[in-house]
């Protein structure tokens, strides 16, 4: 295992930069996983507008209006002192003043013009929202007054209050819903799926970088010539090199998954953990094979980072690592299916969709769908490994 040992030694000499890259990529994955769970619904919080509510009379109508306004605004305890109110609105302590003039209730019930007097500060947008709520409330009452003239004011107020509580529910369609997840799976969905999907970029990138840098040493024409003169066959040399590089890949894979379990502890013990990790292991295998192949085509150190970005980022974008697969067009997905990244992401989605129960995961494992995704990744890995071995043998013969 002379070549194997030397390859590990060469990797050891690159440990500094590799550790840095590994840290950065793990950080990116964790960042993406932690921020990925915030849906539009979670990000939106309703704020209450600070206002002053000055009533020059007291009546059930005014009380009802105040109750309605309180739903969207925070009524500040200000007395009817114009100087204090103006100062409060000037210093933005309140955004709006609603004044109910004396005789308002009587005028409203009589069907006369009954206007609420409002003063707006600098936050006109927020004030408009309050005005709209006032108008909405009064218009609803007006409807009751016109169409049910015999109804008592208290009854009108009660009905209007109930009517206005009715809200149209708007639900944003997310990839969770689009891909058929249950509501109780949402929280875990983002953390798990995004973290593991991101490995298709982070682990792939670090493997191309690490393996290419390592093989650059062995790919020197003179070294290849010298090794070709030795009694160690080209096949044995290549396999030893691949094993050493796969050992490096396993180390990175173990580290990434250990970190994932540390930062996503809820995954530990669930049945889906095993399938996520199995899928991640397949990623480790085919990413090593592709990196091993690519490393034989890399001529200079300067080209390594460019190749890393093109391959890892390109396949990630194409296969739905950053943009969910359901948002990608059919043609894009068809093209992406020629990359192992597509099958990796698909398998992760299938695992996440099954949830974490033992029965769901074991039934999923027996499904042809997931097995096909796993199988495709194995085929890609073996194909690239075979291509790399053939290329290496040809280059060994062409060394002179």
């Amino acid at each position: 295992m002379t070549v194997y040992k030397l390859s590990l030694k060469v990797m050891k000499s690159n440990i500094g930069p590799m550790a840095l890259f590994l840290g950065i990529f793990i950080g990116i994955s964790l960042l993406a996983a932690s921020s990925g769970g915030n849906t539009a619904e979670q990000l939106f919080t309703r704020s209450r507008v600070p206002i002053a509510f000055i009533a020059e009379e007291s009546s059930p109508l005014v009380a009802g209006l105040r109750t309605e306004v309180e739903k969207i605004a925070e009524i500040q305890p200000y007395d009817d002192d114009s100087e204090i109110l103006q100062e409060a609105i000037f210093y933005n302590r309140i955004s709006h003043i609603i004044r109910i003039p004396s005789g308002f209730t009587r005028a409203f019930l009589a069907g006369d013009e009954a206007a609420v007097i409002t003063y707006t500060g600098q936050s006109e947008g927020r004030a408009m929202y309050v005005d709209l709520a006032v108008e909405n409330y009064l218009n609803t009452l007006r409807l009751y007054r016109i169409f049910t003239p015999d109804m008592l004011l208290e009854e009108m107020i009660s009905h209007a209050g109930k009517d206005l509580e009715q809200r149209s529910k708007i639900k944003l369609l997310t990839d969770i819903d689009a891909e058929g997840f249950q509501a109780d799976q949402r929280d875990n969905y983002f953390n798990h799926l995004i973290f593991f999907n991101y490995q298709a970029y982070s682990l792939f990138a670090i493997l191309i970088l690490g393996i290419s840098s390592n093989l650059m040493v062995f790919n020197s024409r003179l070294i290849r010539m010298r090794q070709a003169c030795s009694p160690l066959s080209s096949r044995k040399q290549s396999l030893q090199l691949f094993l050493a590089n796969f050992a490096f890949a396993l180390f990175c894979w173990l580290l990434m998954n250990a970190v994932s379990l540390l930062f996503i502890p809820e995954l530990i013990g669930t049945s889906s953990m095993y399938l996520f990790i199995a899928n991640s292991f397949l990623l480790c295998f085919w990413a090593s094979s592709i990196s091993f192949f690519v490393a034989h085509l890399t001529k200079s150190r300067n080209a390594i980072s460019a190749i890393t970005n093109v391959i890892s980022l390109g396949s990630s974008f194409l296969a739905g690592v950053f943009v969910p697969q359901y948002l990608l067009g059919a043609a894009v997905l068809r093209a992406a299916s020629f990359t192992p990244t597509y099958w990796f992401v698909l398998a992760n989605t299938q695992i996440a969709r099954a949830g974490g129960t033992v029965s769901s995961v074991s039934s999923l494992a027996s499904q042809n769908e997931l097995l096909a995704s796993f199988g495709m990744q194995i085929i890609f890995g073996l194909t690239f490994l075979a291509m790399a071995l053939v290329l290496r043998k040809k280059r060994a013969l062409a060394a002179a």
Binding site: S220, L222, M225, Q227, C229, P231, L397, A400
Partner: protein, 319 residues
């Protein structure tokens, strides 16, 4: 017989790098391949080592046809390449240990072999240096140590002394002779005729991929008409005196340039005494005198009309 090459042909497109080359190498020989740069020496070695595919011909090493999969033969071969081929990230000892490890699996035996190679090439004290910290001469010695550490029976040395200081060159050449004394058969290529003359027991002169001549250095020199070469430092000589020298029956060639008068004699003629008498008779004052036997360069010159090395630069002639 260790190596048998028969009618070897190698073409690079229209260029015929090896043209029906045939030769044998016997056990215990130091066989020199001499020729200017581009004459086909390295191509021939690469073909023998199966690093290059060839168009025609047969190659046998240790009595077996040589192919990329001839691992039993490769185990007994050591190669010292023209360019230094070592790992920059490894120290001197680690490099030797790695290349020796490709041949010898036993760690304990390898340890001894590595130490022997270090001592043999005079790299003691530099064991823990990385290659970029070594001088050109030490790098060459490391290159040799990596090629011979496993004690091969057959060693290919492709211009191992290129760009090496005289001290390292002397050390390297001494080492090669010592390896030969220890039983190794050596194929040595160079365009430095002095080196080949100094160490090789048999020599083949190549030009344009073809054998020009082969044999021991004495046999090669016997193939040409040139006898000894006498050079005199003369500050003034007339055309008439030059003519008299040219008319001497033993003299093959006379030239006078930059105060140096060169007189070449025909084979078998020893005319130094006769020339000294001539100078006395003509009252021709002279300074230093050099007298030398023909070199392999003279052999090459007489056979090809060109010199092995470009005199202006001391480098090989590009062909």
């Amino acid at each position: 017989m260790i190596i048998r090459v028969k009618e070897l042909v190698k073409r690079y497109g229209d260029l015929q790098a090896l043209d029906n080359l045939s030769f044998n190498v016997q056990k215990g020989e130091i066989f020199g391949l001499l020729g200017p740069n581009g004459s086909g020496k390295t191509t021939a070695i690469n073909c023998i080592l199966s690093l290059l595919k060839y168009d025609k011909g047969e190659i046998e090493v240790f009595g077996k046809p040589m192919s990329p999969d001839s691992y039993s033969s490769k185990r007994k071969i050591g190669v010292v390449m023209q360019e230094v081929a070592v790992f920059e990230v490894l120290t001197v000892r680690e490099n030797i240990d790695y290349f020796c490890g490709l041949y010898v699996q036993d760690a304990e035996r390898r340890k001894h072999l590595v130490q022997e190679a270090i001592e043999f090439t005079g790299l003691e004290g530099f064991e823990n240096f990385v290659p970029k910290k070594l001088s050109g001469g030490l790098l060459r010695r490391l290159n040799i140590a990596c090629g011979i550490a496993h004690k091969p029976e057959l060693i290919f040395m492709d211009e191992p002394t290129v760009a090496v200081d005289p001290q390292s060159r002397h050390k390297i050449l001494e080492g090669i002779c010592e390896l030969n004394r220890q039983g190794a058969t050596i194929i040595y290529t160079s365009h430095y005729m002095e080196e080949v003359e100094q160490i090789c027991s048999r020599i083949m002169i190549l030009d344009h991929g073809k054998e020009i001549a082969s044999g021991s250095k004495e046999a090669l020199k016997a193939m040409i008409d040139l006898g000894e070469k006498n050079s005199f430092e003369v500050y003034d000589i007339s055309d008439e005196q030059l003519m008299k020298l040219r008319n001497m029956p033993e003299v093959a060639e006379v030239s006078y340039r930059d105060t140096m008068l060169l007189i070449k004699s025909h084979k078998g003629s020893n005319i130094l005494e006769r020339l000294l008498s001539f100078f006395k008779q003509e009252s021709l004052p002279f300074g230093r005198i050099y007298s030398e036997q023909p070199t392999l360069n003279d052999v090459f010159l007489e056979m090809t009309g060109r010199e092995l090395r470009d005199k202006a630069t001391g480098q090989g002639v590009q062909t």
